[in-house]
C-alpha cells in the first residue's frame, strides 16, 4: 500500500516511488515498529555493533533481539556476522546499504508527516535537513510490522 497526499492508493502504485533517490521519503512499516526503529537507529550511527551492546541498549532479551535481527536480515536491511573473540562467541550486526537507504527514507517520511501537520519542536534538526529533499510519497514497502 502507499500513502499519497494522505490518501491510501492501491498496492501496485507503490512501484511509482523512485527508489533510486536515497533521500526519497518512504514510510517503511517494517522499520517503524518501535523496537526495530530503535535497533536500526542504533545501527545507522555505527559501523557495526555487537549483540551484547544492542541487547543492553534496547533492554531486550537475547531471544527478542535475535528475532528482530532475523527479521531485518531476512529483508536485507542488516548483515549479521558471527565469530569469536578468543574462545568466546560473538555476534556483530551492521546496517546494509539497502537498510541505510530504507532508514533514511523512513526518517524523511516521518519528517514529512510532521511538516504536513505544521511542524514540531522535537526534531527541528532533522526537519531542516529534510527540507532540502523532495519527498512526495509515503510508501509501505513490506506491509507487515
Amino acid at each position: 500500500v502507499i500513502w499519497k497526499n494522505q490518501q491510501l492508493i492501491p498496492d501496485d502504485a507503490a512501484q511509482v516511488v523512485d527508489t533510486s533517490d536515497e533521500s526519497a521519503a518512504r514510510f517503511d512499516e517494517l522499520i517503524h515498529a518501535p523496537t526495530r526503529l530503535s535497533l536500526v537507529a542504533l545501527l545507522a550511527a555505527a559501523e557495526w555493533a555487537e549483540f551484547k551492546y544492542l541487547r543492553d541498549a534496547l533492554e531486550l532479551s537475547d531471544s527478542a533481539l535475535s528475532k528482530q535481527l532475523s527479521t531485518l536480515e531476512a529483508v536485507g536491511y542488516i548483515h549479521v556476522r558471527k565469530g569469536f573473540v578468543g574462545k568466546r562467541p560473538r555476534t556483530w550486526a551492521r546496517l546494509s546499504p539497502a537498510g541505510r537507504v530504507a532508514f533514511a527514507g523512513h526518517v524523511a517520511a516521518l519528517q514529512q508527516i510532521l511538516r504536513r501537520a505544521g511542524g514540531s519542536g522535537i526534531a527541528t534538526g532533522r526537519d531542516a535537513a529534510a527540507d532540502d529533499h523532495d519527498a512526495p510519497d509515503l510508501a509501505d514497502q513490506h506491509g507487515h510490522s
Binding site: P34, A41, A46, K52, V107, L110, R116, R126
Partner: protein, 160 residues
C-alpha cells in the same frame, strides 16, 4: 493495512531515533580521566628522560613502562567503544581536521618549548615541554571530545 502515523507518533519516533543515535555517539566518548592519566604518564616519562639522560638502560626501562601504561590506559578507556564502532561518516571532515589540529598544536608546542630550552642550556627541557603539552592534553582533550560529539550529533540529523 498500513496505519498512517499521527504527527505526535512521528515526532515520538524521530525523538526515539535521535535518542538511540546519541547513545551510540556518547558511548564512543573517551572519559576525562583518560586525558589526565595520559598527561601524568607523559610528564613522568619526560622526567625520567631528563633524570636518566646518560643511562640508556634506565631510559629503556622507562620507555617500556611508559608504553605499557599508555596501552593499559587506552585499553581501559576504549573498552566501551569496542562494543559498537561509531560510524566514520559521522566524524566528517571537520572532525578529522579538529583531531589533526589538536594533535599538531599539542606536539608542536611541546617540541618547540623543549628545544628552545635545550638550546639555551636550561634544565629539564623535556619535562617542561612535555608538561606544557600534558596540560594542553588534559584540558583540551575533553573539549575536543565535546566538539566531536557535537559534530557527530549534527551529522546524524543531516545524514540518518
Amino acid at each position: 493495512m498500513s496505519q498512517y502515523p499521527s504527527a505526535d507518533e512521528a515526532a515520538a519516533a524521530l525523538s526515539a531515533v535521535e535518542r538511540r543515535q546519541r547513545h551510540v555517539v556518547d558511548q564512543a566518548q573517551l572519559p576525562a580521566l583518560f586525558w589526565w592519566a595520559t598527561a601524568v604518564l607523559m610528564v613522568v616519562f619526560a622526567a625520567a628522560v631528563d633524570a636518566y639522560r646518560n643511562q640508556p638502560i634506565a631510559i629503556g626501562v622507562s620507555v617500556v613502562l611508559f608504553v605499557a601504561a599508555i596501552l593499559g590506559a587506552t585499553g581501559w578507556a576504549v573498552r566501551r567503544t569496542m562494543l559498537a564502532q561509531v560510524s566514520s561518516r559521522l566524524l566528517g571532515v571537520r572532525g578529522v581536521l579538529a583531531i589533526l589540529v589538536f594533535v599538531g598544536v599539542d606536539v608542536g608546542i611541546s617540541l618547540a618549548v623543549a628545544f628552545a630550552m635545550q638550546s639555551r642550556g636550561l634544565t629539564h627541557p623535556a619535562t617542561t615541554g612535555v608538561g606544557i603539552g600534558a596540560v594542553l592534553l588534559a584540558v583540551g582533550g575533553p573539549r575536543l571530545m565535546g566538539y566531536l560529539r557535537g559534530q557527530m550529533l549534527a551529522q546524524t540529523r543531516t545524514m540518518p
